[in-house]
């Protein structure tokens, strides 16, 4: 246990020490108390900003810590969502039906990532090929699902639904609890916190070291005796399962899923959240994902069409002028650290890694 706590407080993310963790505990408490003061609608929105965090954390792991860029995490988000819809929908009359759907969703995401990743990582291709092929995967998947409008496109009793997608997806039920409204909010908050903690321990532990070693110098890592292909595949599957977690939460949130959740614009979003926050810090990525989702929502609900232009512009600006990420930049800025009493180790992230 002590060892886990030590790993949790390790140097490979922003913030260590008592002050920092007290602050984090306060933040967690604030989120858990939020439903008491907020309407169901507001809580649902905040839940939406939160539920994309696992996918972003996974991409941060893969790209920021591992140096492997994937543009296709949304594909696994979608695979998990659709799989849940199919399995839970077919078995919803059983008490364990939706739970089985959740398990099936994550398995589907993981297995498809393993199959795809095997071809990509065991081929030892140049670095730029991975983002291209993962993007193509997401594109083809979204196109495929858009073609499934006909009645023959169903699994069991559930229609895939073509462009209109799958609706009426049943909410997750475990024990007597149906995860809707406030219950869903708590589910998201707990899942996101658990993912963050687990990943933070992971990156400070041995497997995380290996991933960072691969990011820094593939050949050296290989020549120490590591099977680099396997390590990269492992990280890829983990990131994809995390994307699947987000997808699973998404279909709980809206009880529907459409192919546009996997399309070209959607594929860009995780990369933007991660790049803008600072890809080699899990915490920065969690924060930026939350804030950028909130920004997009605020923009689009006020009728502003330029959300994508703004976000695209933000990406270009960050890549050109603050490539380590805005939040990471703030977190490591000396003047800011003088104000606030948290320690931040000089971590592994510098421009030039994973680029």
């Amino acid at each position: 246990m002590m060892r886990l706590l030590r790993l949790l407080n390790g140097p490979h993310d922003l913030g260590q020490g008592r002050a920092f963790w007290s602050g984090m505990a306060l933040l967690a408490a604030a989120f858990l108390a939020y439903p008491a003061i907020a309407s169901s609608f507001a809580a649902s929105n905040v839940a939406y900003y939160l539920l994309n965090i696992p996918m972003a954390l996974g991409l941060s792991l893969l790209w920021g810590y591992g140096g492997v860029l994937s543009f296709g995490q949304v594909a696994f988000y979608g695979i998990a969502g659709y799989t849940y819809g199919i399995v839970a929908g077919n078995f919803q009359d059983f008490a364990w039906g939706t739970a089985a759907g959740a398990v099936a969703a994550l398995l589907a995401a993981g297995l498809s990532a393993a199959a795809f990743g095997y071809f990509v990582f065991y081929a030892r291709v140049a670095a730029w090929i991975v983002p291209i092929l993962t993007l193509v995967l997401a594109l083809l998947l979204s196109t495929f699902l858009g073609l499934t409008a006909g009645y023959q496109w169903r699994v069991g009793g559930i229609q895939l639904g073509g462009y209109n997608g799958m609706t009426g997806i049943p909410a997750l039920q475990i024990g007597g609890v149906t995860f809707q409204d406030y219950a869903f909010f708590y589910l998201v908050a707990v899942v996101v916190a658990a993912c963050y903690i687990a990943l933070r321990v992971w990156v400070n532990a041995h497997r995380g070291q290996v991933l960072m070693a691969i990011r820094e110098d593939v050949l050296r890592t290989e020549l120490l005796g590591y099977d680099v292909r396997l390590e990269q595949l492992r990280a890829f599957v983990l990131a994809s399962v995390l994307a699947g977690v987000s997808g699973l939460l998404y279909v709980q949130w809206g009880n529907y899923i459409t192919p546009s959740a996997i399309g070209l614009q959607q594929a860009a979003l995780p990369v933007i959240w991660v790049a803008v926050g600072g890809r080699d810090s899990l915490l920065a990525v969690a924060i930026s994902t939350f804030l950028l989702n909130q920004l997009s929502y605020v923009l689009s609900s006020s009728g502003n069409q330029s959300a994508l232009v703004i976000v695209g512009g933000l990406l270009v600006a960050v890549m050109m002028f603050a490539p380590e990420g805005i939040i990471v930049g703030l977190g490591r800025a000396r003047w800011l650290r003088a104000l606030a009493p948290w320690r931040s180790a000089v971590g592994p992230g510098r421009p030039g890694h994973g680029e």
Binding site: L69, F71, F116, F119, V120, Y122, A123, R124, V125, A126, A127, W128, I129, P131, I132, L133, L135, V136, L137, L139, L140, T143, F144, L147, L264, Q265, A268, V271, I272, A275, Q305, S306, L308, V309, V311, G312, G313, L314, L315, V316, M319, M320, P323, P351, G352, G354, E355
Partner: protein, 293 residues
């Protein structure tokens, strides 16, 4: 028998032409700078937009295409100077940045020009062989592909720019020490790649609807062609890859439909990279010593 054979050949030719046109600009840039321009689809869109704009102001289509080439090429040069050249040596960074640019361009086009541009009517008519009818325009496009490849080969082999470009591709450090202005070569290459993308977009504009996100339909085929072709030898990679992939895609499309044809391309790419991680164009490097003996 002859009509069926002609039809299959036609399909093969048009698929290959589509792949080549989609990928050519991308490969030119990749081969020189090892950068994948994710705004490539949007450059094609810009070319189509420029052509539509010109055509609907009375400019004849062939001239509109040339205008599209230069307009997009110029835009590419400006973009290279402002943004791209900060990312040499940082390929993934360039990739992500061009992605942001593609978002800005596509969504910007939507906001500025609305959901559709006026379409360009497809020139030429149709030609019949047996019960099959073939579009004259597509036959022209196949011919244009041949001209483009020949033209590019001429540029790379017979012009001073081409020679300097090939030297820079092989070894930029030595090229620089010989006095070649590699910065200018990169700028011109990016402009050429962008211009070719715009040209392809303009050429393909009559075959599709001209809309802000029209670049998307070319993205998957273009990227697959580039992955299979590789950057080692620009022209050999482009031609070899599009020909080879069309050989796979055509029968699958004929049997199962266009989507499955594209799916077969992805599967093929995954298989090819296992055998040739650096793409088809790297075969040349492997074969040359054997021939030299």
């Amino acid at each position: 028998m002859l009509p069926e054979l002609t039809s299959v050949l036609y399909q093969f030719g048009t698929n290959a032409a589509f792949l080549l046109l989609s990928a050519l600009g991308l490969i030119v840039i990749l081969g020189m700078m090892n950068i994948i321009n994710l705004a490539h689809g949007e450059f094609m869109m810009l070319g189509a937009y420029a052509a539509s704009f010109a055509v609907h102001r009375g400019i004849p289509f062939p001239l509109a295409i040339i205008a599209a080439f230069f307009a997009t090429g110029l835009f590419g040069i400006v973009l290279e100077r402002l943004v791209i050249r900060r990312f040499y040596g940082r390929e993934l960074g360039a990739l992500v940045t061009t992605w942001g640019i593609s978002l800005i361009l596509a969504q910007g086009a939507l906001l500025l020009f609305g959901p559709y541009m006026p379409p360009i009517p497809i020139p030429g008519g149709a030609v019949s062989v047996g019960v099959y009818s073939f579009s004259v325009y597509w036959l022209i496009l196949i011919g244009i592909c041949v001209v483009l490849v020949a033209g590019l080969t001429l540029v790379y082999r017979a012009t001073p720019f081409g020679l300097q470009a090939r030297a820079t591709m092989q070894n930029p450090t030595i090229a620089r020490s010989l006095g070649i202005r590699t910065g200018r070569i990169y700028m011109l290459t990016f402009g050429l790649g962008a211009g070719l993308a715009g040209l392809s977009g303009a050429l393909l504009a009559p075959t599709t609807s001209i809309a802000p996100y029209m670049g998307q339909q070319f993205v998957a085929p273009a990227f697959i062609t580039v992955v299979v072709g590789g950057g080692a030898n620009v022209i050999a990679g482009a031609v070899g890859s599009s020909t080879f992939l069309s050989l796979i895609e055509t029968p699958v499309s004929l049997a199962l439909g266009t989507f499955y044809g594209t799916m077969a391309l992805l599967v093929m790419a995954l298989l090819i990279i296992r055998v040739l991680p650096a793409g088809i164009s790297s075969l040349g490097a492997r074969l040359r010593p054997a021939i030299a003996r």
